[in-house]
Each structure stands twice: as structure tokens, then as C-alpha cells.
């Protein structure tokens, strides 16, 4: 009857076949039961709640309550195992009925007892076989970074985090696990609380329990999205005990890590004279000696200003604030963790409109419905507010920061940012006076993101089968982004340098800049993502055999929809609603899309005597991206083995000073499906338009692609071997890993060999192959001397990729081939000096039209002429090959300090700068300070150049190694120094504990790179950002306090 009912309820599902199988094989026998009770306490006699109690050779026996008490019914002489994170496991034998035990747990030295989050589950670190690194939230919370992704750098071996920009709201780090592995999308999969595809950037650090990265085949359980590694973020949950309220408050100040140094007005005038003399010989020089003197001495602020545009536009310090309140606690039946947080980051601009703020709420509730049913209900709500100015005029970029930094580089130091009477000075073009561009005089851009994430988790312990449980998750994530941009004209003031009023004060003329009329555009994006999964877990120990099995199914449905509307010719800029704009030239648009995934996955782990370890993970993944005719599904397996050699008797007997020694290895196949969907279809889309009959606009429909019916996943073959060692009484722990990743089936265009005369853009095809290999080393040591406790951890990772195969243009010489080199390595002419004089030019092959002071390009192929064949593929890219961090924790009585040094090496960046010639911008001081002139022919730097007038500098696009810099750096990424108010004093003022501290981010940087931060981009694929046009990185100093009630 029962089985029949079962069948009628359930369609045929492999998961339940497994359930039946296990239920048949269940072994149970009667035994004499006794009941024991007691308390678990710490070494300082504090009761320990939530301590897990297991019966040796059996299953879970329960946990202690908020008072550390437990009561358990077991077989006589059963061995009870008490374990809790951070404590040594303790064994106690239950001898007689009614016995009352006091169990004291001692803090653990061994890190291997830590519980580590893995895909769809957790593992004790001692039995891990994959290459997995994790960091606790308590370490990450020490970073005052406004963006959570920026606190990860240097903490996790193998994770490369590069901060590209410090612009509030857009300041996330580019994250790469083990560097870059593919020519396509290299971003890792982010999983927050078990739900894939959530973002980690805006998480409140106070809610983070841990961050784990899966670097090798252990990620295969995430199948087609796992090839770039997986980042698992786990948030905190409630524990049994009385309600605890924790309150944190931080006040920080941001300042750019570095700003480019530009030529000042006297130097600029001198440079313009040099340019004029070189390019327009015979013309009168634009600046007289008297002019230059006036720029220098500041005697004529109206006619001869000397403007430091960066200083005029950027504040010394801009504030940021962060506050958080959490409430946690619970009892047997219900536990809760509730957090409310808020932060604010101001932009660095004077009177700037730029800032970011967010308010976030999280509630994680765990309820025990019955003995066998547990229900969790998690809700996250967050509002993100991004505010910028109007963004400049049409014709400029829509990106406000880009407009500002572009204008900062282009403005002349000989022009006033503001006139002596405070009115803004003129623009170079587009009305782009940066001191005005940053303000709300240009209008505003307001973006509001509303994020709502929920997850209901049901865990059912199947009563009929020991060790079997079923977990179901239903998660719904929704993000709504509403953006409103109101651009209005602003006024700048010019002086004709002659008109003065009766008092002799210069007469300024106002002129309207930017758009001619106020314009409003609004966007609305609506994204939803629904994840449903069911996981069947079997977890049981038979004597020395520890078996864990997981079988699961998951479906993910993503939907997005967006639309926008635009009106212009607002009569007044007082009211800014769509309804009030003109009906003429109004415009709108919209689109939508879907994403669907259907997956089956599982894991089988086996450990014998916690010594021989084996694990198999797999995923059968279905994705909407591929052709329904047989290409939608793929199978991704991963296998790993471990051997805890230190658990062998001979080891314990002879090599006991090494407390732990585990060697492990893994191999797996994962996929990467981050490519445009529907590449198997020929489709036609609207693309541009055309006007007929004077004023009838018609759409144009264009074939968007040539289909590639066979398009499929990228495949990552990942191999890893590693070892974990603990010695000196577990004080020193060392882990090492070596990996070899071969990515095949990379989607790449074959266009490199397709001539333009074919007229076609080929579809991407699965042809690319990239090898990425490297190693990681991590060591930590902790110790104490009296009241002085310390821990030092260091990690370093080296990874370097090379293209094994892709479509290489057939005719290129060997030194230009990208195959065999790192991905995205650029071609550069080789700068080997500066032509001192005409004689030097005559002696060496040179670019047509080269003149003294020009950069010498090396004649690489020795053919006596300089042309495109003399470019050489660079050995470096903008992604560092080595990254590492050193973290030092110190504690003396109530004082503590944490210091994190972080560094990266092996990358290069090119200097992007405007030419500075007449009409367009200023020179960077470092490029002109020791320049070639007639008087200084043996200079390191070339002559000053006119825009478009130098073969070695097209505007902002350096083509040669002169502009390329080594961007290695070491920085004091983070420190926190604090004081814990001793509990006695704290309790007197009614609080449990109080901590006050000072902390900093990016406090010191050691690098050869000048003018730009070594992490700032000189390119960003798919982006227009370059370092001279990007908001700089922040250096943050912070004070804060945390109080617990």
C-alpha cells in the first residue's frame, strides 16, 4: 500500500530508485539502549552550544542546546564523538544508563578539523581530496573595502583579484581563479548560499560565514559553468543560545592611490613653443617669455592661470560609512540570523554628484518542524543606489567617470578651471569642463537596483533509511534596475581677454553647453532567476567505511525584460518626468530574453578509516544555449583521491613530528557555456535604418550570423596534485598544489585566416585550445609566547597560460604568432631609444618622416625598413602570472593587529595618454621631463609631439614598448589595529564586548608604475576603459567599532 502510494505520487525518478535500493539494504538490529546526559564546556568552562554529537560507527546523535546540555539515547558502551568547529574532537564512552557527563573540549590546533563548504555540501578539511581554498568571513570583515570583492585579494591562493576602478558603484574586482584559461569568458561561477549566478560584490561582510573557491575537478559538480572555477559564499546562520546583538560602525576616508602628474602651465607653454618650432618653423611662438613668467608667478590669475585640473576637480578625502546590526540566536526549534546593514561611499569629486549607497537586509531562519523535517527560510533584500551627474553631452560617452577623466587629461593647464570670481572657465569641447561635469549642474543619473532573493530549503531525514535525507531548495531571485538620466544644459564662461567693465574687471560671456535642451531617459530592467533543486543525500559510516552519496536534479529558469523611454526639449528643467517632455523626437525601446538549464548531478565519496579517500563527482548538464538536436546535454565527471599517510601506523610511530600528511590528486572535465546563445541558428535582427520618401524611416534587417550547428561547450580538462602537511604540533601548516588545465573546444573566430573579400564574419567555432598551468603554495604558522599570540600565513600562486591552438593568420612571422604565447598578448614595435639627430636617423632604418627626437623602432626582421612586420608579440599580458599575499595576525592581551600584504607580478600595462599637441590636452609630466630637445639630444624620452604628428603615438593608442610598463607591485593591502575592551569594563557599561579599531585598504603601494595604479586597466575587453580615462583606485583609511550586546 505504502509503495503504491509512493508510485502514484512520484514519476519515475532515478533518485527514488536509489532510495528504494538503500531502503532494501538497510541493516538494523535490536540492541540494549541506555540514556546519558550532560554538559559540554570549553576549556574556560563556558557552555558550548550546537556541539555535534555522533555515535562512532553510526549516524548523528544530535547537538547540544544553548546551555551546552544534551541528552541522548544510545546503545550501551557506545562511543560518543563530540565535535565543534574550532575544537578538538573528543571521544567519550557511554557506560551506564542515567550517567551525567561533563565534556570539556579543547580548542583545536589542527586546521584540518575545519568544516569546508564544497559544492552542494560540506566536508571536513581532513578528508578533502580536491584543491579547495577558503577564508573565513571574520578575516574578510577586516577589510574596509566598500565592495566585498575587493576584500578577497591576497586571501585565497589561486584567486586573482584585480580592481579596475574605484568608482562608487562600479568598483568590483575582476576575479580569476588560477588566472585565465580561455579566450572567452574567464569569470568564475559565483554561488551564494547554494544558488548559482548570484553576485558577491554587494554582500554585507558582516553576513559572511566563509568564502571557498573550488579550483580543480571538485568543481565538476557544477558542470558546464564550472570550468573557470567556482566561488562559494556562505552566509551566517543562527546558533542556539540567547539572542546576541552585534553592532558595527565604520567611518572611512577615500583618496586616490595615485593620480597622474601633468605638466603645469609654464611647462605646457614651453612645450607648445617647442611643438610650434618643430612643426611650424618660422611661425611666431605661441607663448612669449613674459607669458611663461606670468604662468609661473601667478601675477595674472585672469589672463595667465596655472591650473592643476586634478586638484581642482578631486577632493583630498571623501567619506565612506558602513553600519551593521545583527541579531542572532535561537533554540532547538528555531534559530535565526538577522542582519541589517547600510553603507555609503562618496565620490572623490568636489561638489560631485557621484556616490553609492546601499541598504541591505538578510534573514536566515532555520526551523525544526518535526524530528525529521527541517525548514530553512532565507530572505535577502537589498537596495543599491548609484548616483552620478548628468554624464556630459551627447557626443561624449554616457559613462560619467570616463568623461571626467578624459576631460581632465585634455584640459589645458593654461586655462582656468574657475575664474577668480568663482565662475567656471571654458571647455575644450563638448562643454567638458571637468569641475562642472562632476556636479549636478549637468543633470543627474540615478540608478536604483532592487534585489530580492529568497530561498526555502526543506531537509527531510528519511525515517526508513538510516543516513538518508532529501533536501529541496526553491530559490527565487529578482533584480529590478531602474535608471533615470536627466541631462540638462549648463553654462560655462569665457573671457575674450580684452573686455573689461568700468571697474577694470574682465567681462565674462556665458555660453550654454552640453545638450541644447533638457533630455530625459529612463531604463527599466527586470531579471528573475528561479532555481529549484532536490538533493538526495546518503551519509553513513559502516565501521571504518565512511560513505557519502549525493544524487540531485536541478532546474534553473532565468527571464529578463527591459525597456527604455526618452524625451527631449523639456521647456523647463525644474520637472523631470517623461510626461512633460516634448512629443517630438521621443523614443523608446525594449527587449527580453530567457535562460534555461536542466541538470542532474551527484557525488560519491568513500573514506576508509579516514585514511584512504576517494570521491567522484559528476554532472549531466542541459543548457538552452545549444542546438536542441542533440547538443544541449553534456556529461562532466571529476574524480579525486587522497591518502592521509600520517594516519598510517608506521608514520605515527616514526615520523610523529609531522602531525598530518595528506597527498591528493584529481582529474576532471568541466565545461564553459558562457557564450552567446542560439549560435546554431541563422537569425536576422534589426540593425539600423534608412529613410525613404523624405521622412519615412524604415528598419533594416540584417543576417546576424552564419550558423554553427555544431556549437558546443568549452571543455576544461583539469588535473591537480597536492599535499597538505601539518607539523610542529599542528603549529605549521603547509599546502602545495600543482595544476595543469587544458581547455579545448574554445569558441574562437576562424576570421584570422578568412580574408575580408569573403565578406563574412564566421561564427565562433570550438577550435581553440589553451593550456594553463601553475602551482600554489600556502603556509601558515601560529604560536604564542605568554600573552602574545601570533599567526603568519603566506600564500602564493603562479599560473601561466599559452595558446596551444587557434586560428592564426597564416602569413605572420614567428615572433608575431599568438600561438604558444599567453592569451591577449599584444603586438608592439620595439622601442630602442630616441634618434638624437638626423645623422642617427640616416644610420638606422626608420619610419618614413622620422625626425630627430622620434622613438627608434627596432628593425626586427632586418629588412632595412620599419613596417608592420617589425612588431613583436609581447611575452606579458595585463593579467599577472604571480599573485600572493602575506597575512600577519598579532594579539597581545586586548590589543590585536592584522596586516595583509598583497602583490602581483608578471603583468604589464601600457601608458594611455593624450598627445598634448595643440587643441587636445596636456602631457604627462613623466613623459616630458627628460625629453629630447635640440639642447638635450641624448634624452631618454622622445620629443614633444603634435597630435597625429608622430608615428609612435597615435592618439591614446601606444603602438610600441616605450609606453609599456612593468606593473609588478607589492602593497599593504589591508591592516587593522584594534583593542578589545576587557569584558569587565564592557559589562559595566551594559555591553558584552566592545572592539575599537583603525583599518586601511591599499595603504601603501610599492611599484615602478607611475601615474596610474598598477591594477588600473589599460584595456578591458568589451570596454572603452583605459587607465587615463578611468576613475582611480581608492586608498581607504577607516576607524570603527563593534559592540556585542
Amino acid at each position: 500500500m505504502l509503495n503504491k502510494q509512493f508510485d502514484s505520487l512520484l514519476p519515475i525518478k532515478a533518485s527514488f530508485l536509489l532510495l528504494f535500493f538503500l531502503s532494501i539494504s538497510q541493516i538494523s538490529f535490536a540492541q540494549q539502549k541506555i540514556t546519558v546526559s550532560g554538559n559540554v564546556v570549553s576549556d574556560s568552562s563556558q557552555p558550548l552550544s550546537n556541539v555535534s554529537i555522533r555515535i562512532k560507527g553510526g549516524t548523528a546523535g544530535g547537538t547540544t542546546d544553548e546551555n551546552g546540555s544534551f541528552k541522548i539515547s544510545v546503545a550501551k558502551s557506545a562511543v560518543l564523538l563530540f565535535s565543534s568547529i574550532g575544537y578538538e574532537e573528543k571521544q567519550v564512552t557511554a557506560t551506564k544508563d542515567g550517567e551525567v557527563l561533563t565534556v570539556m573540549l579543547t580548542p583545536s590546533n589542527a586546521r584540518l578539523n575545519d568544516i569546508v563548504v564544497v559544492g552542494y555540501g560540506t566536508r571536513k578539511k581532513e578528508t578533502l581530496t580536491g584543491s579547495i581554498a577558503s577564508v573565513k568571513g571574520s578575516d574578510l570583515v577586516k577589510s574596509p573595502a566598500g565592495n566585498f570583492s575587493n576584500s578577497l585579494a591576497g586571501r585565497l591562493p589561486g584567486l586573482v583579484a584585480i580592481t579596475r576602478t574605484g568608482e562608487p558603484g562600479n568598483d568590483g574586482s575582476t576575479l580569476r581563479i588560477r588566472g585565465a584559461n580561455t579566450l572567452g569568458d574567464n569569470s568564475p561561477l559565483v554561488v551564494v548560499d547554494g544558488i548559482a549566478g548570484r553576485s558577491l560584490e554587494r554582500l554585507d561582510p558582516a553576513t559572511i560565514e566563509s568564502v571557498t573557491i573550488l579550483k580543480d575537478a571538485s568543481a565538476a559538480i557544477y558542470g558546464s559553468q564550472a570550468a573557470n572555477g567556482v566561488i562559494l559564499v556562505t552566509t551566517k546562520r543562527g546558533a542556539s543560545g540567547k539572542p546576541t546583538i552585534q553592532f558595527s560602525l565604520n567611518q572611512g576616508w577615500n583618496t586616490p592611490t595615485v593620480l597622474p602628474k601633468m605638466a603645469d602651465a609654464p611647462l605646457y607653454a614651453q612645450l607648445q613653443n617647442e611643438i610650434s618650432a618643430a612643426y611650424h618653423p618660422g611661425d611666431p611662438l605661441p607663448y612669449s617669455a613674459e607669458d611663461i613668467q606670468k604662468y609661473k608667478d601667478g601675477s595674472d590669475p585672469w589672463g595667465h592661470p596655472n591650473t592643476d585640473w586634478f586638484k581642482e576637480t578631486i577632493k583630498k578625502n571623501s567619506p565612506q560609512r558602513y553600519g551593521n546590526l545583527t541579531l542572532s540566536g535561537g533554540a532547538e526549534a528555531i534559530k535565526y540570523f538577522i542582519s541589517l546593514g547600510s553603507n555609503f561611499t562618496d565620490g572623490i569629486f568636489r561638489d560631485g554628484a557621484t556616490n553609492y549607497s546601499q541598504t541591505n537586509f538578510q534573514s536566515n531562519i532555520d526551523a525544526k518542524v518535526t524530528n525529521s523535517i527541517r525548514l530553512s527560510f532565507d530572505v535577502v533584500g537589498r537596495q543599491e543606489n548609484r548616483n552620478y551627474s548628468g554624464g556630459g553631452a551627447n557626443g561624449g560617452s554616457a559613462d560619467q567617470a570616463q568623461n571626467v577623466f578624459w576631460a581632465l587629461n585634455r584640459s589645458f593647464p593654461t586655462w582656468p578651471a574657475r575664474w577668480p570670481n568663482g565662475l567656471p572657465g571654458p571647455d575644450i569641447e563638448y562643454g567638458a569642463n571637468p569641475v562642472v561635469l562632476v556636479t549636478d549642474a549637468t543633470g543627474y543619473t540615478k540608478s536604483r537596483s532592487y534585489i530580492f532573493q529568497s530561498n526555502v530549503r526543506l531537509v527531510i531525514t528519511i525515517p526508513w533509511v538510516k543516513g538518508l535525507s532529501l533536501t529541496g531548495n526553491a530559490a527565487m531571485d529578482r533584480t529590478i534596475v531602474s535608471t533615470k538620466q536627466f541631462r540638462k544644459p549648463w553654462f560655462l564662461y569665457t573671457w575674450d581677454k580684452t573686455s573689461v567693465d568700468a571697474n577694470g574687471t574682465p567681462v565674462l560671456v556665458a555660453s550654454k553647453k552640453g545638450n541644447t535642451d533638457p533630455r530625459l531617459q529612463q531604463w527599466m530592467d527586470n531579471n528573475s532567476n528561479v532555481t529549484l533543486n532536490a538533493l538526495l543525500n546518503y551519509d553513513r559510516v559502516f565501521d571504518k567505511h565512511d560513505i557519502k552519496a549525493l544524487f540531485a536534479a536541478e532546474r534553473i529558469a532565468g527571464d529578463n525584460m527591459n525597456f527604455w523611454a526618452f524625451r527631449r526639449n523639456y521647456t523647463s528643467d525644474i520637472l523631470d518626468e517623461l510626461d512633460l517632455g516634448s512629443n517630438e523626437l521621443k523614443d523608446n525601446g525594449g527587449s527580453s530574453g530567457v535562460a534555461r538549464r536542466l541538470d542532474y548531478f551527484g557525488r560519491l565519496s568513500y573514506a576508509y578509516d579516514a585514511k584512504y579517500l576517494a570521491e567522484f563527482v559528476w554532472r549531466y548538464d542541459g543548457s538552452y544555449i545549444f542546438d536542441p538536436a542533440g547538443k544541449q546535454f553534456g556529461f562532466f565527471p571529476g574524480i579525486s583521491l587522497g591518502y592521509r599517510i600520517s594516519n598510517e601506523r608506521f608514520w605515527k610511530d616514526h615520523i610523529s613530528f609531522i602531525n598530518e600528511m595528506k597527498i591528493r590528486g584529481s582529474w576532471g572535465k568541466t565545461g564553459n557555456d558562457r557564450i552567446g546563445p542560439y549560435q546554431y541558428l541563422t537569425t536576422y535582427g534589426y540593425n539600423g535604418g534608412y529613410v525613404f520618401n523624405e521622412n519615412v524611416p524604415q528598419q533594416a534587417l540584417k543576417a546576424l550570423r552564419i550558423p554553427n550547428a555544431g556549437v558546443t561547450w568549452e571543455i576544461a580538462n583539469q588535473s591537480n596534485i597536492g599535499a597538505d602537511v601539518e607539523l610542529l604540533n599542528n603549529k605549521l601548516a603547509v599546502s602545495a598544489d600543482y595544476f595543469y588545465n587544458l581547455r579545448t573546444n574554445i569558441l574562437a573566430y576562424r576570421n584570422a585566416s578568412v580574408p575580408g573579400s569573403a565578406g563574412l564574419s564566421l561564427p565562433q567555432e570550438n577550435i581553440g585550445e589553451v593550456v594553463n598551468k601553475g602551482f600554489e603554495l600556502q603556509a601558515s604558522y601560529r604560536g604564542k609566547a605568554g600573552d602574545f599570540k601570533y599567526q603568519v600565513s603566506a600564500n602564493g600562486a603562479w599560473a601561466k597560460n599559452h595558446i596551444r591552438f587557434w586560428d592564426e593568420t597564416p602569413g605572420v612571422p614567428d615572433y608575431q604568432r599568438s600561438t604558444g604565447n599567453q592569451m591577449n598578448a599584444r603586438l608592439y614595435y620595439q622601442a630602442i631609444g630616441v634618434f638624437a639627430d638626423q645623422a642617427a636617423i640616416d644610420k638606422y632604418p626608420h619610419w618614413t618622416g622620422a625626425r630627430p627626437g622620434d622613438i627608434i623602432f627596432k628593425d626586427v626582421n632586418n629588412d632595412g625598413q620599419i613596417d608592420g612586420q617589425d612588431q613583436v608579440r609581447s611575452r606579458k599580458t595585463t593579467i599577472p602570472t604571480f599573485t600572493g599575499g602575506i597575512s600577519i595576525d598579532l594579539q597581545y592581551k586586548n590589543f590585536y593587529a592584522n596586516v595583509l600584504f598583497q602583490g602581483a607580478a608578471g603583468a604589464e600595462r601600457s601608458y594611455r595618454t593624450f598627445s598634448g599637441g595643440p587643441g587636445v590636452g596636456n602631457f604627462m609630466y613623466n613623459l616630458v621631463k627628460d625629453r629630447w630637445t635640440l639642447e638635450n639630444p641624448s634624452a631618454v624620452n622622445p620629443r614633444v609631439w603634435e597630435r597625429g604628428g608622430a608615428y609612435w603615438m597615435t592618439d591614446g593608442e601606444p603602438n610600441n614598448t616605450y609606453f609599456v610598463r612593468n606593473s609588478d607591485y607589492l602593497r599593504l593591502k589591508n591592516f587593522e589595529v584594534g583593542y578589545n575592551l576587557s569584558s569587565g569594563i564592557a559589562q559595566k557599561i551594559g555591553i558584552q564586548s566592545l572592539r575599537i579599531y583603525v583599518s586601511a585598504l591599499n595603504f601603501l603601494t610599492f611599484t615602478k608604475m607611475k601615474d596610474f595604479d598598477p591594477e588600473s586597466p589599460d584595456d578591458a575587453p568589451g570596454s572603452i576603459w583605459v587607465n587615463s580615462e578611468v576613475y582611480p583606485l581608492n586608498k581607504t583609511t577607516n576607524i570603527g567599532l563593534t559592540a556585542t550586546f
Binding site: D427, S511, V594, N693, V696, A700, K702, A703, T809
Partner: protein, 592 residues
């Protein structure tokens, strides 16, 4: 275990598995929500027409086209045009001619011609032809048009007449120049047979029989020109650049016949062919280029600001009127305009040198703004400085009696203007042709424009040039004088080399800024005349000895950009990347 609990478990397990399996495999079968499939497109006449629109849309146009790369215009920012003027072009900076863009459009034409027959037949006639014939004719025309653009830059190119599939061999050798001309001309005939004589209603602006015949006239005229009937010494593949055999006279005859075929259609004419005065001629010439439609239109494209597809005039407006003035005329062009009596302008003539902008060819006043020329009203904040609204590029020397020294005031449109410092050009003039004086940059950057890729005056001039090539000078003069009469210029009576020179100048003036000069300089092989250091003018209102300021400015030519000529520039380089990918290609001479 109690009964209630187990029921709850069943319900939950059941619910979870139902949810997971409810959709099955079809769950993954989604479709793009903003794109049509191939089958959708080729069965729907509306979508097929939209597809044709994208072929129209790829026809390149900007105010500059080639004017900055030849002696028609200079701007403050040289860029890649600097490389052209200084003969620095190479396979590494080969951006001219947009090889890849043209071939991409040609591929779209090929796909269109391969698929158009899938569209069900509809016997209904629109403007005298069926929809399918018209669309075939349009695709045929555009393929020929895009090839004509390519051969004008590169000489013979690979003739690709089918759309490649993924598995095809993409390498292709260049066809000879003669083959290309023959192909294009044949395609023009095919298109002419399919296309309507004129379009009406919503189809206005589509190509016609006349456009196809006019394209044929242009390509055959080019083919008969010196450039393609000359041998480049030392170049191993002369057939790529021009004719290596055959009769040049026949080419002239073919060119003449092709132009005549357009004339004989009888539906085109010159705009206002007999003005009553020079003033009227000035007005007519200006009106022609800002009119929506005219009797001269053979192949046009509409731009319309009211539907958000206007033309951005910001680039060509004077800086004192809110633009950046990128197409200013060098002195060489200004000087090429004859005096209104038909004599040559000369700097050595004291009166002409003193007031160089006086009594010139009426077309000058409708094509170029110069110091003091009335343009339009200034924005309100500049009305005090210039109540009339003229072009001000000059410098005023004024006497400051209190300080006892000269002070300078700079014109609102000069490089030292108080209004705008970033964009200006140093020629001392500004392009006026195509600009509607009513356009206010401070209200709207965009305005309407009808761009005339081919207009009837060109055909008349093509015909005249072919006649000169054939020695039929009287006929040539008749047609040249039609153009001159329209401009209120006196007839010419020259013969021989003088006639040829006169014709060339007439074409230069009549078709200025219309994307002809760049190619004409090449096919006439007069590179050195057009590429050399270029001049602008310094305009100064000088201080008189009595400390008053002159009212007539001193206009002095000054060198503003460098320049030189090299014969390699007769043809442009094929990009190195293209050469590397297609080993059958032969590079043009001078670029190896």
C-alpha cells in the same frame, strides 16, 4: 514515526519531484525573442524588403568621404588624412576604401540574390515592375555600386559573386581591372532592365533605372581615363590596374554612350538652367543642395532629423556657431574659382589680391564661407559681438590709447575665439555647401539633408569629358556651357589642352565636396597638382597709421599643412592582414 509526519513527507517529496519534472526536455527549447529565423525572412515580402534596407544602409556616407584626403579640405586634426597627404600610407594603416566593409555588403547582396526566388511571386506591379524584379534589380545595382567603389580605390579586386559557405575555400585572386569594369557595367545593364524608371510614394529614394545607367556612365568614364590606360613601370601585374590591350577610343565611345543613355531617358534636367542674374545663380546652387528633391537627383539618400535620422552638422559648422568646422577650404580651392567674368583669379592682380572674395564664380558664394560672409544669426550671447552673423576668422588690431599699445581682438570663428577653443580649422574658411542656414546648432545638432550620390550635372560633365576624349570638342563645350550657364558663368570657347584644363576645373568647382575630386585627381593622373603643402589664409584688420583699424582685411595665404606626392598613391594599399590571409592577392605597386 507518526502518521502525520510521513504524510507531510510524501507531499513534500511529491511536490519537489513534480516541479522538477513538469517541463521535461522542452523546458530547454527556447527561441531568441528579438530575432527572425531564416525561413521567416525569405517567405515574407515585408521582411525581405527590410533586409534590402540593410544593403542600402551599408552605403558609406559622411560629410568628409574623401575631401580631407585630397585638396578640397583641411581640418585642424589631420589623423589618417595626414598620412595620405604626406604619402605615409602603407599596408599597416590601410583604412581607405573600407575593403572589408564593402565586401561584407557585397556578401549581403549575394545572399539576397541567392534567396530572393524563395519569395512567392506576386504579379502586382508597383511603379511598373513587380516587387521581386525591383528587389533583384536593387541587389544587382548595389553589388555593382560596391564593386565600383572598390575598384576606384584598389584597381582590380577579386570578383566574388556567391556567398561563401563555412566549408568553402576563401582565397581568391584579384580579377583584372578590365574584367571588373566589364562585370560592373554588365550588372548595371541587368539592374536597369529590372528597375523602375521612377519610384513613387514610400519607395521614393530607392534606386531606379537611371541610377543603374548613371553608375555605368561613371565606371566607363573612369575606365577610359588616363590612369587605367597607362602602364606602371616595373609592376608585374599591369592588368590589375588598367587595360593592357584593346582600343582606348572604344572606351571613350562607351563612356559617351553610357552618359548619353542617361540623358536620353529624358526625365532628368539641370536645376534652374537659365538664371536671370548671378544672385539667382548663387541662390539656385545653394538651394539645390538643401532641397529635399530636385530634377537633378539620380541616386540619393534622405536624412531626416524629425525621424531621428538626421545629419550631424556639428562637424561642419563654424566654431562660433557651435560646430568644429572640419571641412574648411584651403586657399588652393578658393583660388580655383574663376572670376565672375570667366577669367582666372590671380593673387598677382593687386585688386584681386586686396579683395580676393569679390566678383567670383557665383558657386563660390554658395559653397564656401569666408571672412565677412553673411551666414546666419549668432546665438543671443554673441549678438552684441556680431549682430549681422558673418564668418569671423580674422584678427583686429586695435589701438589702446591708455596703454599706448596694440591690442588684438579675435574673430568668433577663429582659433583664438572666446567661444570655442577645441575645434576650428586653420584654412580661414568654412564649407557652406549642403548647410541649411536655418539650422541652429544651439537648438539641434541634426538637420535634414538629401545626399546626392549621383546627380545629373555629373552625367553632363561625364558626357563632356568623353567627348573631349574623342576629340569632339564642340559637343564638349556645349555641355560644359550648360553647366556654366546654370551658374551664370560665361561660355567657354577653349580648345585642345586648354579645353581639357577648363573642363577639369569646371568639374572640380561644380562637384566640389561631392566625393569626386579624390578620384578625378587620380584618374587624370594629376597627383602632384593636388598633393603639396597646402595653404590657408591669415586675415588681419590692420592698424592704420592714424591708429584706426582697417575695415577691409588683409588676406594672406599661409602654409598650414605639409604635403607631397608619390605615384604609389594612384592606388591604395591592401591591408597587410588581408595580404597575409589570402596568398593569391597581389599588392599594389609601391607598398611592398
Amino acid at each position: 514515526m507518526n502518521y502525520r509526519n510521513s504524510n507531510l513527507i510524501y507531499i513534500v517529496i511529491g511536490a519537489v519531484s513534480l516541479v522538477l519534472t513538469s517541463c521535461g526536455k522542452s523546458f530547454l527549447d527556447t527561441k531568441p525573442s528579438t530575432q527572425f529565423t531564416e525561413a521567416d525572412v525569405w517567405s515574407d515580402p515585408n521582411l525581405v524588403q527590410l533586409n534590402m534596407n540593410s544593403i542600402y544602409n551599408q552605403n558609406p556616407w559622411s560629410f568628409f568621404l574623401t575631401s580631407l584626403a585630397v585638396d578640397e579640405a583641411r581640418c585642424y586634426d589631420a589623423g589618417n588624412d595626414y598620412n595620405m597627404s604626406n604619402m605615409l600610407m602603407s599596408p599597416d594603416n590601410a583604412g581607405w576604401g573600407d575593403w572589408n566593409g564593402r565586401y561584407s555588403a557585397i556578401r549581403d547582396c549575394n545572399i539576397f540574390l541567392e534567396n530572393i526566388d524563395k519569395l512567392p511571386d506576386d504579379p502586382a506591379l508597383i511603379d511598373g515592375v513587380t516587387l521581386k524584379d525591383r528587389l533583384k534589380g536593387e541587389a544587382t545595382f548595389f553589388r555593382a555600386w560596391y564593386y565600383q567603389l572598390l575598384i576606384s580605390y584598389f584597381g582590380g579586386v577579386p570578383l566574388v559573386t556567391k556567398s561563401y559557405k563555412l566549408s568553402d575555400d576563401f582565397s581568391a585572386a584579384r580579377n583584372s581591372y578590365a574584367e571588373c569594369v566589364q562585370f560592373i557595367s554588365g550588372e548595371c545593364d541587368k539592374a536597369a532592365a529590372l528597375l523602375p524608371l521612377a519610384n513613387t510614394g514610400v519607395n521614393k529614394g530607392r534606386v531606379t533605372k537611371g541610377a543603374a545607367l548613371a553608375l555605368k556612365s561613371r565606371v566607363l568614364l573612369y575606365a577610359a581615363s588616363d590612369l587605367h590606360n597607362t602602364t606602371f613601370p616595373g609592376f608585374s601585374n599591369p592588368e590589375l590596374l588598367g587595360y593592357v590591350d584593346g582600343d582606348r577610343k572604344q572606351r571613350w565611345q562607351a563612356a559617351k554612350a553610357a552618359a548619353k543613355a542617361v540623358i536620353d531617358l529624358g526625365i532628368y534636367g539641370l536645376y534652374q538652367p537659365s538664371p536671370a542674374s548671378t544672385e539667382e545663380a548663387v541662390q539656385n546652387y545653394e538651394d539645390l543642395f538643401i532641397s529635399k528633391n530636385s530634377i537633378e537627383d539620380i541616386f540619393i539618400r534622405y536624412y531626416n532629423a524629425s525621424v531621428n535620422q538626421g545629419v550631424d552638422y556639428w562637424q561642419v559648422f563654424p566654431n562660433g556657431y557651435g560646430g568644429i568646422e572640419t571641412n574648411g577650404a584651403p586657399s588652393e580651392l578658393v583660388d580655383a574659382y574663376e572670376m565672375s567674368d570667366g577669367t582666372k583669379f590671380s593673387r598677382t592682380n593687386p585688386a584681386q589680391n586686396l579683395e580676393p572674395y569679390k566678383n567670383r564664380d557665383p558657386r563660390f558664394y554658395a559653397s564656401i564661407l569666408y571672412e565677412g560672409a553673411k551666414f546666419r544669426s549668432r546665438p543671443s550671447n554673441l549678438l552684441a559681438a556680431d549682430p549681422v552673423g558673418v564668418l569671423q576668422v580674422g584678427t583686429w588690431e586695435k589701438w589702446d590709447a591708455t596703454a599706448n599699445k596694440i591690442v588684438y581682438t579675435y574673430g568668433l570663428d577663429s582659433r583664438n575665439s572666446v567661444v570655442y577653443g577645441g575645434g576650428y580649422n586653420n584654412t580661414g574658411t568654412c564649407m557652406l555647401k549642403f548647410i541649411n542656414r536655418k539650422t541652429d546648432m544651439y537648438v539641434n545638432h541634426q538637420d535634414d539633408l538629401t545626399w546626392r550620390f549621383i546627380r545629373y550635372s555629373e552625367i553632363i560633365l561625364n558626357y563632356a569629358e568623353a567627348c573631349i576624349g574623342l576629340g569632339e570638342e564642340a559637343e564638349a563645350r556645349t555641355y560644359i556651357n550648360m553647366i556654366r550657364k546654370k551658374a551664370a558663368m560665361p561660355d567657354i570657347v577653349d580648345a585642345g589642352a586648354a579645353l581639357s584644363a577648363r573642363y577639369r576645373n569646371e568639374r572640380r568647382i561644380e562637384l566640389v565636396y561631392e566625393n569626386h575630386r579624390f578620384f578625378d585627381v587620380r584618374r587624370w593622373m594629376i597627383g602632384p597638382e593636388a598633393y603639396h603643402p597646402m595653404h590657408g589664409v591669415n586675415v588681419v584688420y590692420k592698424l592704420n597709421p592714424d591708429h584706426t583699424t582697417a575695415t577691409i582685411p588683409t588676406v594672406t595665404p599661409v602654409e598650414i599643412t605639409s604635403g607631397k606626392w608619390d605615384n604609389k598613391a594612384y592606388f591604395l594599399p591592401i591591408a597587410r592582414s588581408e595580404m597575409n590571409k589570402n596568398d593569391k592577392l597581389v599588392q599594389n605597386p609601391g607598398y611592398n
